[in-house]
């Protein structure tokens, strides 16, 4: 007989080595292997395109930021000096109310009249 405390440890060890009970190899027929490869490659293409799009968007944004800063420097050096914060003085925060979007959002999505009373 195993003591109840020891039994708990045995159960925990069983949880840790659960991966060994997984099947060794997926047994797929030729048709399904080719179908899988097709889906996999299409997904790779999809993510590649998505990433390229994202990169292009950010690159464009960067160029626009640069252009705008150049223009501001030319037009109004004082205003430029006020906006162009050096890195060692930066450190903005995103609001704590910013949420990662979900499939099940709250009834009121965004409280426009919110004020943090604690502050």
């Amino acid at each position: 007989m195993i003591k109840p405390g020891a039994q708990r440890v045995v159960n925990m060890l069983g949880v840790l080595s659960a991966s060994r009970r997984q099947p060794r190899r997926l047994k797929l027929c030729r048709e399904d292997i080719i179908r899988h490869k097709t889906i996999k490659h299409a997904y790779q293409l999809f993510t590649k395109n998505e990433q390229a799009e994202q990169k292009q968007k950010l690159d464009q944004q960067y160029l626009r930021i640069k252009e705008a800063a150049d223009l501001l420097q030319e037009l109004d050096p004082e205003l430029f000096a006020a906006t162009n914060v050096p890195p060692e003085k930066k450190g903005r925060r995103f609001p704590l109310e910013l949420r990662v979007p979900t499939d099940t959002p709250p009834r009121t999505i965004w409280s426009s009249t919110f004020a943090n009373k604690l502050r």
Partner: protein, 288 residues
């Protein structure tokens, strides 16, 4: 495998007194390959569905990553932008000026005492927007010194809250006062990336930290200087993870854990801004 179209019988290396060709056979290596590639036992890569090591990689929608791509990336680019930035060189050993012919062989000038070498800080562009890289979790279970079984408990606890398989941590020091000997299992550690990391961060920021009674905001001056932020969770916070919350009677003990959030940010300030966007409560900046 790499192919070289031109064979390098370098003439400049011969002038420098080197052989100029490989003298270790095979010397005619226009084609490079790994020896394991030729073996009969060469296995298919794990990414192939026919391989025994195949595991499905992308199994669910990654909310956190999508939030980063849709909202945070462009905001961070704007927040971190400084006009006409130049590279700020980090502290490192520099070669001496060649005053005499002998100074070529002298060791480079050491850094001032008590200073660590640091990395260069490059201008912030759309190429280097900070992102979350990985989270390493370390759990030192102090009661495991008395009762070795508790190291297993710590391991299972980490596996439950991260979904990844942790590794054991063994003691390295000999402290007879605390009955600690080298080689004793004293805890567990795990590094999580990708889907597991996103899931963990979501759970942490949405379910655990808001309900925690002990956790205060991430400090406005924490970080290791390279954009990696550390935080601690107490054993009471751990019980708030939904994986443990519903079966608390099965857990004799829970343990404190240390998290290190590794980001690709170049400074801690940027890393803190990123974490605030991911939903971590972060205090405003404190001047050091």
């Amino acid at each position: 495998m790499r192919t070289h179209l031109v064979r390098n019988f370098s003439t400049s290396s011969a002038l420098l007194g080197r052989t100029g060709v490989s003298i270790v056979p095979p010397v005619h290596h226009l084609i490079r390959f790994k020896k394991s590639q030729l073996s009969d036992k060469a296995r298919p890569p794990k990414s192939w569905v026919t391989s025994a090591g195949f595991r499905p990689q992308i199994t669910r929608h990654d909310r956190l990553r999508q939030h980063y791509n849709d909202t945070l990336a462009s905001d961070l680019l704007l927040l971190n932008y400084t006009h006409n930035e130049t590279t700020v060189e980090g502290a490192r050993r520099k070669p001496r000026a060649p005053v005499t012919p002998y100074s070529v062989y002298q060791p480079s000038k050491p850094l001032p005492q008590h200073t660590q070498p640091t990395k260069d800080i490059k201008p912030r562009t759309s190429e280097n927007i900070p992102h979350l890289e990985r989270i390493s979790i370390n759990c030192f279970a102090k009661p495991a010194i008395e009762n070795r079984d508790l190291a297993i408990t710590a391991k299972v606890m980490l596996q439950h809250i991260t979904g990844m398989k942790p590794r054991d941590v063994f003691a390295k020091t000999n402290l007879p006062m605390f009955h600690l000997r080298p080689g004793m299992p004293v805890g567990a550690k795990v590094e999580i990336t990708g889907e597991a990391m996103s899931q963990f961060v979501s759970t942490l920021t949405e379910l655990v930290l808001p309900r925690s009674r002990t956790f205060r905001n991430i400090s406005g001056k924490c970080g290791d200087g390279n954009g990696n932020i550390g935080l601690k969770l107490t054993k009471h916070d751990i019980t708030l993870f939904p994986e443990l919350e519903n079966s608390l009677e099965l857990w004799p003990e829970t343990f404190d854990i240390d998290l290190i959030v590794h980001t690709s940010a170049q400074t801690d300030r940027e890393a803190r801004t990123l974490l605030s966007g991911l939903g971590f409560p972060v205090s405003s900046e404190i001047r050091k």
